[in-house]
């Protein structure tokens, strides 16, 4: 029982991070039908930005309040990563729109390789650690066998931040004219233009939002693990992409749900079976779900009344 609850907490924390990254994949796919292969590396980039900003704040500027530092780190990481997302869309993807379908995909792979190598060259190939940030832990209860269920402050911060930002983001997409324009472009780009929507601007915005949420994930990842390396874009990126497909690519709640499921499977598998096979487990579930539900858990069925 204690082990179960503990793994549940760990799994949800990890799943929140995957879910945040998955939204970027799902939104970009929804609006321009492109798998943004560089998105995992954008996440890695944001973790590095968070690391640098954190070190600058704490060692050079002497900020002692961790809460303040984290807030500033989060805002800076989101701003700079968004800027990156906006710029790559303009430089690497937009000129290829209307070209053959694979072109932007290949361009995204190029961006991914560029980013990973750029970070490797400028930051070095080794793991970059942060000084430990938030160490407090709440012991929820202690079992008879001495196994304590603990909820760390970190985990609370991660889950709360994810929930709050998802809430804001959900409001943005569902209730504002910005979000409406975005959904319109997703459903019928030409019609959206006929109604006065600036489609290019809306697509830019999608990349910006995706990058901003990836930056939240990057900051949380750094907070959770305390290290980051140039190669850390790949595996979380693939997992988040898997989460997006599992939830039904194009569906926002699906991305979050998929992220949580992948996070849970991974932690439970590691705890109860073998840690080596956790990724096999996650991807097997994906394969099984896709066999029975080809459009994912919350994906829309292909047939649409015309």
């Amino acid at each position: 029982m204690e082990v179960f609850v503990q793994q549940l907490i760990n799994g949800l924390t990890l799943g929140s991070i995957y879910g945040l990254i998955a939204i970027g994949y799902t939104m970009v796919f929804g609006i321009i039908g492109m798998v943004n292969f560089a998105h995992g590396d954008v996440f890695m980039l944001s973790a590095f930005i968070a690391l640098i900003v954190f070190l600058v704040l704490t060692t050079w500027l002497g900020v002692t309040s961790i809460a303040l530092a984290l807030l500033v780190v989060l805002i800076c990481a989101m701003a700079l990563t968004s800027l990156w997302g906006w710029a790559t869309e303009r430089i690497a993807y937009r000129p290829l729109r209307g070209s053959f379908r694979l072109a932007p995909l290949i361009s995204a792979i190029g961006v991914s390789i560029f980013l990973a190598n750029f970070v490797q060259v400028t930051q070095g190939a080794r793991n970059k650690p942060t000084p430990p940030m938030v160490r407090e832990v709440i012991v929820l209860w202690e079992g008879a066998n001495g196994y304590a269920v603990a909820l760390s402050y970190k985990q609370i911060i991660i889950m709360a931040t994810t929930a709050v930002l998802l809430g804001i983001f959900w409001y943005l997409v569902q209730r504002t004219s910005l979000g409406r324009a975005q959904r319109a472009c997703e459903q019928d780009r030409k019609m959206a233009a006929l109604l006065g929507i600036d489609v290019d601007r809306t697509i830019s915005l999608t990349f910006v939002i995706g990058a901003a949420l990836a930056a939240v994930a990057g900051t949380m990842y750094l907070l959770y693990y305390g290290v980051v390396s140039f190669a850390d874009g790949f595996v979380p990126g693939v997992k988040a992409f898997t989460a997006a497909v599992l939830g039904g690519i194009g569906s926002l709640p699906g991305a979050v749900l998929g992220g949580l499921i992948i996070g849970l499977i991974e932690t439970f598998w590691s705890a109860y079976f073998s840690i080596e096979y956790k990724d096999v487990a996650a991807f097997s579930i994906l394969a099984i779900v896709l066999i029975f539900m080809p459009s994912g858990l919350l994906g829309r069925p292909e047939v649409e009344k015309v």
Binding site: S177, A193, L195, K305
Partner: protein, 260 residues
């Protein structure tokens, strides 16, 4: 005519010289291509303020292509399109949409995963939500069916309901020029009648200018002040609605058996 000051003046002068007002929409020598295939082979057409103008023609004549070319998508490769005295031939589509022209395009193009309400909000996006409530009431009075179904998803509406929604969405921007591409397509005769009477009402009561593409030539020509006939990318005939209705060639090609 609040936009494009100088152009307006120039056209106004020309109109006075011509002895009549400049058209609200004027299409001159427009050629449109799909790749290397020519779809419009030099089209000339005018729509004056306050008119209902209809364009009829066989399948594949290029009617929808002309509607979309006016909105710059696809773009005219040659020729000139002016609206309210401004040259809009090279203006981006979403800017044209903000010049108080609205289109209900071929195939209706309702956003399927948005509610009726949200579809109407999309129609109002050019005026940023001012007087939205008022306009919503107005279009719901025109099509009471929409009021009953405000929170239904667009994609689950019936064909006729979608058509009403497409027209209502176009009206939400308070257009000066309303362009309708086959509003009667696939609809029951009673609904066709209703839609045509709405168009007439908008034109007579609100002075809205209407440019209408129709297969239903008999009804369209009866409703319109003027009409054009298009054959494979060229305008072959023009005249008042009545003239075209009585023209033997038009009768032979577009009206036979198609009355009512």
């Amino acid at each position: 005519m609040s936009v494009g000051g100088i152009n307006v003046l120039v056209d106004e002068t020309r109109a006075i010289q011509d002895g009549k007002r400049a058209p609200l929409l004027s299409v001159r020598g427009v050629k449109t291509y799909y790749g290397n295939i020519i779809a419009l082979k030099g089209v000339d057409l005018d729509v004056h303020e306050g008119e209902i103008v209809t364009l009829i023609g066989a399948n594949g004549a290029g009617k929808s292509t002309l509607m979309m070319t006016i909105f710059g998508s696809p773009r005219a490769r040659e020729g000139r399109i002016t609206y309210a005295g401004q040259d809009i031939t090279r203006v981006p589509t979403h800017h044209i949409a903000r010049m108080s022209i609205a289109q209900s395009p071929e195939g209706r193009r309702i956003f399927p995963r948005m509610t009726v309400y949200e579809n109407l909000q999309m129609g109002a996006s050019v005026n940023g939500g001012t007087h939205f409530k008022e306009d919503l009431d107005r279009v719901c009075d025109l099509f009471p069916r929409l009021r009953e179904r405000l929170y239904q998803r667009g994609g689950t509406m019936s064909g006729g309901e979608q058509q009403m929604l497409a027209i209502a969405r176009a009206l939400m921007s308070r257009p000066r020029l309303l362009m309708l591409d086959e509003p009667s397509l696939g609809l029951a005769p009673l609904i066709v009648k209703q839609i045509f009477s709405v168009v007439k009402e908008l034109n007579e009561r609100d002075g809205m200018t209407v440019f209408l593409v129709e297969q239903n030539a008999y009804h369209a020509l009866k409703l319109a002040h003027r009409g054009y006939v298009m054959v494979t990318g060229t305008i072959t005939m023009t005249g008042t609605g009545r003239e075209l209705l009585e023209n033997p060639q038009v009768q032979a090609a577009y009206l036979e058996g198609g009355r009512h």
